[in-house]
Amino acid sequence: MEVPILKQGAVLIATFQAALSDADLNHLRMGLVQQVVKFRSRAVIVDVTAMDVMDSFASRTLREIAHMIRLRGAETVIVGIQPEVAFAMVQLGLTLEGVATALDLEEGLAYLTQKFKNTD
């Protein structure tokens, strides 16, 4: 399953679907980093609103994506973690330490706008 990646100015927006396999996540990790390079993006928003399960592999992949993108000098914001998914992650002992999160796409964009303003 392909994850659609939208380009919105200097920001890339990747929207996760519910049924992503490990292979899809690996594919996305490479795809996102390549596009950040290609478009000289300053930030990536990963929208996980539709994800019904965030297990150890998915959260590790998200952390890796964020760290790789940071090495490129860009920001990553994870948006839309559902309350029940957040609950399950905490029970499982999963964290997204060092990765910015926001309520939804709108909040994620607002966070980045503020951040860019401060650094410009």
């Binding site: 049924a19 992503l20 396999s21 490990d22 292979a23 019904d52 399960v53 965030m54 297990d55 150890s56 592999f57 590790r60 559902q82 309350p83 029940e84 998914v85 609950f87 399950a88 992650m89 029970q91 499982l92 002992g93 999963l94």
Partner: protein
């Protein structure tokens, strides 16, 4: 195959997705809250991933269980892989032999109400977990 039992063969990462979707569907069908259905689906995802990572193939069996006046879901993850040499160690947070996060089994135990593991080196692994409807 016993009545009402759903079996999902686990051979690849795609089967992990299939197994957790079936588990969620069963939980919702039984009237579990979406929160508890998510816990069930997440536990299945971790158990199925253990099978793929350590044993390559195995099976997840899902069924409805009844006790005095409650209903629940039982999930049995079985494989005939290498087995676990030290179960106590495997049940400690942070332990992993496959370079993964090592949160699998203790995490699954926290997600579920009941947890049982039978394993011996060379003899495969069977993990049985249950979640009761609140």
């Amino acid at each position: 195959m016993r009545a009402g039992e759903i079996r999902v063969a686990i051979n690849s990462d795609q089967d992990i997705v299939t197994a957790r979707q079936k588990g969620r569907a069963l939980a919702i069908e039984l009237g579990f809250s979406t929160g508890d259905a998510t816990l069930v689906a997440t536990a299945i995802s971790e158990l199925a991933r253990n099978i793929v990572s350590y044993a390559r193939k195995g099976q997840i069996a899902l069924k409805t269980v009844h006790a005095s006046n409650r209903q629940g879901i039982s999930i049995v993850a079985s494989d005939s892989g290498p087995g676990i040499r030290d179960i106590h160690q495997a049940m400690r947070d942070g332990f992993s032999t496959s370079g993964s996060l090592g949160l699998g089994l203790p995490g699954v135990r926290r997600l579920m109400d009941e947890f049982e593991i039978v394993s011996e080196p060379g003899g495969g692994t069977i993990v049985t977990v249950k979640k009761w409807k609140q």
